[in-house]
Each structure stands twice: as structure tokens, then as C-alpha cells.
């Protein structure tokens, strides 16, 4: 009896990747070796179940609303035009980006206030649906982080909360500015960008908290 077949040989035999001579040798070995034959049977049983897995799985409810909101935002996004961002707004946005990018190892210890569109500004109707999509996503992520807060370090808390506060401030400024100038495409882009930063920050934190 020759030594047992390597795992790679068994796999290649199963996948029909062995040259003819090696395949013949392997098959001859399998006729005499119960151990290797059992290994191949195990592999085939695994693959049989893998191929029988259902092609479809129930998707989470409410997903279409979020996709539609993102699509709607893209559809209504006009061409960018020249627009001067206030220094404070630009600084806030820049800080948010820097902090968001540098805090991937951070998680939230204390649950931040739920994100709402409660500020007394009236946004363009086309943007309201898009904003609701972001708010739904943000709320879900905040809830997830809140549930995982026991795993978080205090230093993490401060940094992520600072990032969230900075982004929220930028969102507030952009919302107010957009309410005053609803046709301003650059403001729409800026507000969407701020929301995307917040979602991305929360996504990174939730992924890390789960790892």
C-alpha cells in the first residue's frame, strides 16, 4: 500500500483536475485504501449539501425603501455648480472626514442620541425621502453599537463620539443651508456626503465590534 493520498489530490480528483495518469493512480489507490476512500466520500457529501443550499434567502424587510432613497438621490442630483463653502462648514467636514478615517478601531460606549431630522428646517421634498433612508440606516447601526457597548474601551468612546458630533454638526449646518437655498446642488451633495460619512463611520465601528 502506498502512502495516503494528499488532500490536494483528493480535491483535484473530485474537481476533475488531475492528469489522466495521476487520476488512474489515485483511483487504483482508492480501491485499496478505505481511509482515503472515506475521505473522498466525506468531501463528496459536503459538496452534495453545498449544492443543495437554497438559491434564495429572505432579504431583510424594508430594504427597498433604502435602495429607492439612494437611487432617488442620484436621480435628483443636478450638475455641480460653483459654490463657496463657509470656512467653519469646510473645517467641520474636513475634521469629520479625518476623524472618521482614523477611528476605525473605535467603538461607541454610550449610545448617542438617535439621529432625527428634528431641526426646524424644511428641506426640499426630493431630498426628504433620501434623508429618511439615511436616517433609517443610521438608527439601525446606532442600535447595533449600543447593544455591543460593553465591548468598548473608554478611549474609543470619546473619539467616536467626537466624530459623530462633528459630523452631526456638519449635517445640521448643511440642512439649514439647504433649507434656505433648496435649489443649491452643491449643498445637496454636501449633505449627502455628510450622511455617507456618518454611515461609513458607524459601519466600520459595527464591523469591528463584531470581530
Amino acid at each position: 500500500m502506498t502512502e495516503h493520498l494528499a488532500a490536494s489530490v483528493l480535491n483535484d480528483l473530485q474537481d476533475d483536475l488531475l492528469p489522466r495518469d495521476k487520476r488512474r493512480d489515485a483511483e487504483q489507490h482508492l480501491e485499496q485504501c478505505e481511509s482515503c476512500a472515506a475521505q473522498l466520500a466525506n468531501l463528496r457529501a459536503l459538496l452534495s449539501v453545498a449544492r443543495s443550499l437554497p438559491a434564495e434567502l429572505s432579504a431583510p424587510a424594508g430594504s427597498w425603501d433604502e435602495v429607492r432613497a439612494r437611487i432617488a438621490h442620484q436621480q435628483t442630483r443636478p450638475l455641480r455648480r460653483r459654490w463657496a463653502i463657509s470656512p467653519s462648514l469646510a473645517a467641520a467636514a474636513a475634521l469629520a472626514l479625518v476623524v472618521a478615517s482614523s477611528t476605525v478601531t473605535m467603538l461607541v460606549m454610550r449610545r448617542p442620541e438617535p439621529m432625527t431630522a428634528s431641526q426646524p428646517v424644511l428641506l426640499p421634498a426630493a431630498w426628504q425621502a433620501s434623508e429618511q433612508g439615511y436616517l433609517t440606516t443610521v438608527e439601525g447601526l446606532l442600535q447595533q453599537l449600543h447593544e455591543q457597548r460593553s465591548q468598548l474601551a473608554p478611549a474609543t468612546v470619546a473619539t467616536v463620539e467626537q466624530a459623530l458630533a462633528t459630523i452631526d454638526e456638519a449635517i445640521g449646518e448643511a440642512r439649514a443651508a439647504l433649507a434656505r437655498d433648496p435649489a443649491n446642488a452643491a449643498l445637496t451633495d454636501l449633505l449627502a456626503s455628510n450622511y455617507r460619512q456618518k454611515v461609513e463611520l458607524l459601519r466600520r465601528a459595527t464591523r469591528l465590534s463584531a470581530s
Partner: protein, 187 residues
């Protein structure tokens, strides 16, 4: 039509009709396509990502990408085929970003041994649910390759091209994934 609940409607438009309408900017038509394919797309995302929340995000990304790229769909393949491959690309791109971000180091070489795999077979305790859970627990590249090859039926070379890996590396990931699954599912 209620925008929040895309439905096919009484006349049941064909997929080519829906695609054509969506290509002209009809979001409701795209919503019907979404409804028809969301379960399949979610299954792909969930198995490849191994995480339900991440799969939800990726499914959204895939449909938004599909909307953006609808103009490139010429009907050469079935819309479902086009969408599912686009979904795989979205997930693989995200996986590459995630791996760069976390600098995850993964074993690339093959393990020539199947020591530890009981010869009694994995089929007895093997249920689909157990396999789903075991797949989700695989290392990222092993999971991606196993799902694409053994669940979705992609060829080695196709996977290698999509993942930017050598064919031998793909085989190594596949063999490792199978070995880990058999170990985890063994009685």
C-alpha cells in the same frame, strides 16, 4: 404604484419590458425587478460576506450599482445572470477594501493533510443550516472561493480572474475551506 412596495401589477410585464423602462429612469419598474431578485441577491451577499448586517449593506450597494449600470446591460445574458455577477463583483470589491483596511493575513498555501477529519463521514450530522453557519465562520478568502465554486458553480479560472489571484491560490483556498468545513461539521 406604491413606491414603497414594488409589485408586478396585474399585467405582469416581462423582464425585458421592466429593464427597458428602468433604463429610461422608471424607478418603479426597477422596484419590480428588485422584488423579483432580492432574495437571490441577498443569498449571494450573505454567503459571501458571512454576516447578515454586512450582507444587507452589500445587497443595497449591488442594487444601486445595478441601477447605475443599467445602461450597460444589452440583454446578451439573462438579466438575473447579469445582476448576480454584478453582485459578486460588488462583494469582492468590498472584500478587497475590507482586507486592505484590516491588513488581514490569511493562510494561502494548501494544507496537504486531512488529519482530524473523521472517516465516519460528514453527511450524517450535516444539515443545511449547520453548513450555512460553518461557511460564515470560514476565513474571508476561503469563504469567498468556496461559495463561488461549490455553491454558485463558478470555475477556478473565473474566480481567479475576479479575485485577482493565481489559479493555484484559488485552489489552495478552496481546499482549505473544504477541509475546515469537514472538520467543523464532523460528528
Amino acid at each position: 404604484m406604491d413606491a414603497s412596495h414594488p409589485t408586478a401589477g396585474a399585467s405582469e410585464p416581462t423582464v425585458p419590458d421592466l429593464v427597458a423602462r428602468a433604463q429610461r429612469g422608471d424607478v418603479d419598474a426597477f422596484g419590480v425587478l428588485y422584488r423579483q431578485h432580492e432574495s437571490r441577491v441577498f443569498a449571494i451577499c450573505l454567503r459571501l460576506a458571512g454576516d447578515r448586517q454586512r450582507a444587507r449593506e452589500l445587497m443595497h450597494d449591488a442594487f444601486v450599482r445595478a441601477w447605475e449600470r443599467l445602461g450597460t446591460y444589452r440583454g446578451d445574458a439573462a438579466f438575473g445572470t447579469w445582476l448576480h455577477r454584478l453582485t459578486v463583483n460588488v462583494v469582492l470589491e468590498a472584500a478587497r477594501r475590507d482586507q486592505r483596511r484590516t491588513a488581514r493575513v490569511e493562510l494561502a498555501e494548501d494544507d496537504e493533510s486531512m488529519v482530524g477529519v473523521p472517516a465516519s463521514g460528514v453527511s450524517d450530522p450535516l444539515t443545511r443550516m449547520a453548513l450555512e453557519e460553518a461557511i460564515a465562520s470560514l476565513p474571508p478568502n476561503a469563504r469567498l472561493v468556496f461559495v463561488l465554486h461549490d455553491v454558485e458553480g463558478f470555475a477556478h479560472d473565473e474566480i481567479a480572474a475576479q479575485m485577482g489571484l493565481a489559479s493555484g491560490t484559488v485552489r489552495a483556498h478552496l481546499h482549505r475551506a473544504r477541509q475546515l468545513l469537514m472538520q467543523r461539521l464532523a460528528p
